[in-house]
Amino acid sequence: MARRVRTPRVFQTIWNTQGLARYLFLTGVLITGVFVVFALLAPWIAPYDFAQRSVDGVRFPKLAGASGEHLLGTNDQFYDIFSRVIWGARTALLVVGLSILLSAVVGVPLGIVSGYTGGWFDRITVFLMDALYSFPSLLLAIVFSFLLRNAIGGGILAAALSLTAIYIPQYFRVVRNTTVAAREATYVEAARAIGAPPVTVMRKYVFGNVVQSVPVIGTLNAADALGTLAALGFLGLGIQPTEASEWGYDLSRALDDVSAGVFAPAFWPGLAIIALITGLTLVGEGLNETLNPALRRRRLRPVVLTPREEA
């Protein structure tokens, strides 16, 4: 990693931002934080395991309403809905985090090399990435999950890899374009003038200056990836129910219940998806508005002048 931005300064930048943006960002952090807590402490918060259908040898009721034993009721597979929602946070954050990390790890270096070297390599990569980008993202995820299912099954890793390909072009585009601009900058010229080989220039000079937009794209992509993961699950092509609890899969199971007028199995997992997507979007937009100097509007702070010392 490049030099990391110190946390207190980031916090101060956010706090000094004008108007609503600050509160929206904090709301986003709060919502995301709650889900992170769910994910980390799932075994302690959730009363049952995600694949548990009975307790002490007594089978859970099917499609039961909310009660003391089952806070949000049970679904058509005898699972406890509340536990599935809590455990789902772990799956969602794990898959989304992994896929965003993987696509950044591929997309960022590819963008730097492509933008810095230029020439035919750059042209071909840009063309390929554009083609990948123009393809409907869900279709791409479906194709990848189809291929990966034969190779590595339907687990968390397979789901994360299916999503990775969708987001590589986004990092690539942004990083490549900033690299092209940075290539002509004086500091890069200076580095070349003192005899730095291309690899060093890319690693030490360009990298630190082009990665700044990555966290923003990352959080916004995370929101999108969460939706795509749930969509894959909903189509029955995502994570298998025995591997982990996944909200989209639970929604697909709830299709028939909905026609019968039973609302709990469909409502709660969906609400969790919306809440986490909204939280991540707010964090992403907030980061964009606070860290991007072009969009940032600082609020006015009272300035206390120190009394001038009498000569």
Binding site: L132, S134, A266
Partner: protein, 344 residues
């Protein structure tokens, strides 16, 4: 495409744009082939491996040409696609083109209905929000736009079904028509709505239209959010234009200024975005079809993915890729027709 820099006339622009279709198509088709054929695993045993003996599997492989070198298979694939031959499914021996002809109509009417709904709702709301910028109404419309875009489309669909089942129990919530209508309407065009109309079966038409309402509404909401945001921003921008000020100075009423001077110009980018949203709409359609048990291409694709049918998946994905390229071509040409700036 912005890469077309040659100055000149409309026919020239269209010709250059048409020529760009070939490399775009080629790259997408190659991508589909590379993804689906070079991947590990054997298509035949994945689809029907547990049903047939080893000799029979070999015969199937030979029939599909899978025992030939990859480069031959690749050229063969490109040639077949040029002749609009998308292969025959392994699992149930249906030509993929038949699937497209039979099931494509349902997807087409679903998408068109959704776009119609999105335009009818999105354009006025976007205009209103842009005209009354920063009012409570604007805030409300913007939040509506964001929420419709952020909420998973299938969840919105499920909640709609719940609502309808509870309050209007007789309203259809799944499939494209009742079994009776499907049986009575003879197949002519592959588009059920059109077939029913051609057959003068107005009860059938009404039935099919009723079935369309919920799915089109659901998919339409997704597209509508994008349209609202775009029209709003464009109206705000064009209201700042000199020609709007000139119109106001001439004493033209504000309503007329917004409607005919600002709004019209704000519509040009909407065409572009509708084209760009095609990929989103396609993804949305796949999910909507699953939600409402809609007999369209998305349902077929998911079924064949589950059946591990390589040929069917490859054929359908190829078809979608071609659709993406063609829509972007049409959008560019329409754009050039309505906005002269594009072709210079």
């Amino acid at each position: 495409m912005s890469t077309v820099t040659a100055s000149g006339s409309l026919p020239r622009y269209i010709a250059v744009r048409l020529m760009l279709v070939i490399p775009m198509m080629w790259v997408l088709l190659t991508m589909v082939f590379v993804l689906l054929r070079i991947a590990p695993g054997d298509p035949v045993s994945a689809a029907v491996g547990d049903k047939l003996s080893e000799d029979a599997l070999d015969a199937r492989r030979a029939a599909l040409g899978l025992d030939r070198p990859l480069i031959v298979q690749y050229l063969d694939y490109l040639g077949d696609v040029c002749r609009l031959d998308f292969g025959t499914t392994i699992s149930n021996g249906r030509p993929v083109l038949d699937i497209i002809a039979n099931q494509g109509g349902a997807t087409l009417t679903l998408t068109l209905g959704a776009f119609l709904f999105a335009l009818v709702v999105g354009l006025p709301l976007g205009r209103l929000a842009g005209r009354r910028r920063d009012s409570a109404l604007d805030a409300g419309i913007r939040i509506f736009g964001i929420v419709t875009y952020a909420a998973p489309i299938f969840w919105v669909g499920l909640m709609l079904v719940l609502f309808v089942v509870r309050f209007v129990p007789s309203w259809p919530t799944y499939d494209i028509a009742t079994a009776e209508t499907k049986y009575l309407v003879p197949d002519r065009t592959g588009i059920l709505l059109l077939d029913a109309a051609l057959d003068n079966d107005w009860v059938g038409v009404r039935d099919v239209l009723q079935h369309h309402v919920l799915p089109c509404f659901t998919l339409g909401l997704l597209i509508c959010g994008v349209i609202i945001r775009l029209v709003r921003v464009n109206v705000i921008q064009s209201l700042k234009g000199d020609y709007v000020e000139a119109a106001r100075a001439r004493g033209i009423p504000e309503r007329r200024v917004v409607r005919f001077h600002a709004f019209r110009n704000a519509l040009v980018p909407v065409v572009t975005v509708i084209g760009l949203q095609f990929a989103l709409t396609l993804s949305g359609a796949i999910l909507t079809e699953r939600t409402f048990n809609w007999p369209g291409l998305g349902t077929e694709l998911v079924a064949y993915v589950t059946a591990r049918d390589y040929v069917a998946v490859q054929g359908l994905v190829t078809f979608f890729a071609i659709a993406v390229v063609l829509v972007s071509l049409i959008v560019d040409i329409v754009n050039a027709l309505i906005d002269p700036r594009v072709r210079y």
